[in-house]
């Protein structure tokens, strides 16, 4: 298998599947694909703490589990704290010689709701304390598990069940919270955005995160065909469009230095990304223009950050 050879650059065993088949994610779920890809890189010596949300529900209906890794779910808002406890335990048990000294990745995983809303405090605490852990935010831009309610990570204009468009509403009335920058503000060694539509970029970033001796934060855009109202086969393509139009730039911040990891020569119009998605169907040309302007200015800002932080 040719591709396995290519992947060996990023991971020990590309054929490893740590998220077993038989999970109950919707057809074409790119959120579970993000997990499949991420854990290929992180490998077997990994412990996972996961928040309540789609990925928890689709993977562990008692007595069934699709996890081949040590895995724990406690609640919705405390994943970073649970992961902190795991990392602390490993540290002290190794120091006391109760468990073998080896590299164990401690990984916290939560959705955009579990990260940017209800779990933000616990995450901030964990990042500030400097645990050696990798926190993965699976951003499908709404509370999907409970039926597509808006989160602070839902994009402007999107229709969700709690941000319905109507005579007096455009849909989501706020701009997407910039979670990666909040993570950057904690001065941690590594922050990156990623998307399974760009697998090699994603692999590279997880590999870097794995090697950091401190917290890293990986924000993965995870296309959700169900919540975005797109055909299931289009999940990878929409991730690509999000990146190519600049709505979801792929970048990393390593020790404070911003770097674009995928820079299209020209951005495609956001309309190309927006138009096929049911959640944006109600938007007018004027509103799409407004979004385009915002994307342009954010894109510029990000480029500036890359320039000014260049060593």
């Amino acid at each position: 298998m040719k591709i396995l050879k290519t992947l060996e650059k990023y991971m020990e065993d590309p054929s490893l599947e740590l998220v077993a088949s038989g999970h109950r994610a919707c057809q074409g779920c790119a959120e579970v694909l993000a997990l499949r890809m991420a854990f290929k890189v992180l490998g077997k010596n990994t412990i996972v703490a996961m928040a309540t949300g789609c990925m928890e529900i689709i993977s562990t209906p008692l007595p069934i589990t699709c996890w081949r890794l040590p895995w724990i779910h406690v609640a919705f808002e405390n994943t970073a704290a649970v992961a902190s406890g795991i990392e602390s335990a490993i540290r002290i048990l190794m120091a006391k010689g109760k468990i073998d000294k080896k590299w164990i990745n401690v990984v916290g995983v939560a959705g955009d709701g579990g990260t940017s809303d209800i779990g933000l405090q616990a995450l901030s605490g964990a990042l500030e304390r400097g645990h050696r852990l990798i926190y993965i935010c699976l951003d499908n831009e709404a509370y999907m598990n409970t039926g597509v309610q808006r989160s602070s990570s839902t994009p402007y204009g999107a229709s969700t069940t709690t941000s319905p468009p109507g005579k007096k509403s455009i849909g989501q009335s706020t701009w997407k919270k910039d979670m990666p920058k909040i993570a950057v503000a904690h001065n941690i060694p590594y922050v990156a955005t990623a998307c399974p539509s760009y697998p090699f970029d994603l692999f590279n970033k997880l590999k870097k995160a794995k090697e950091k001796d401190g917290p890293s934060y990986i924000h993965i855009l995870s296309v959700c065909p169900t919540g975005w109202r797109i055909p299931s086969e289009m999940a990878i393509e929409y991730g690509r469009l999000a990146v190519r139009c600049g709505m979801f730039p792929l970048y990393e911040v390593e020790d404070g230095v911003y770097k674009m990891t995928f820079k299209p020569d020209t951005l495609i119009p956001v309309e190309e990304y927006i138009k096929g998605q049911g959640r944006f169907r109600h938007l007018t040309e004027k509103e799409i223009k407004e979004i385009q302007q915002r994307v342009n200015s954010e894109w510029e800002k990000l480029n500036k950050l890359c320039e000014i932080t260049k060593p």
Binding site: K2, S21, G22, H23, Q27, M37, L62, W67, M234, I236
Partner: protein, 97 residues
């Protein structure tokens, strides 16, 4: 293999309901959800492996000969593999189960 939920007595559960059979979800056959299934024209296939890489269910699996085939037990028929194959080697066809 885990029993069906409704067959568990309270004494059968591990303390804390811990599950100690990693990956036993294999016994849950999501293939039943499928309406369409991927059909590969191996004459067009370059064995690039992207269909394998992008499958959210790890249902597109390598065969001995280096080609890939969808696993009937797990393929949900999402169509990603067909959409993402750069060589248009995969078509989604009706699944006559």
């Amino acid at each position: 293999m885990a029993k069906k939920m409704e067959e568990y007595k309270w004494q059968d559960l591990n303390a804390g309901c811990v599950i100690d059979e990693p990956g036993n979800s294999l016994q849950y056959k999501t293939g039943e959800w499928r309406i369409l299934r991927p059909l590969t024209d191996y004459s067009k296939c370059t064995k690039c492996g992207l269909c394998w890489l992008f499958c959210p269910d790890n249902a597109m699996r390598p065969k001995e000969d280096g080609f890939f085939a969808s696993h009937p037990d797990y393929c949900k028929g999402c169509g990603i593999c067909a959409q993402e194959c750069k060589f248009e080697a995969i078509k989604m066809v009706e699944d006559k189960k």
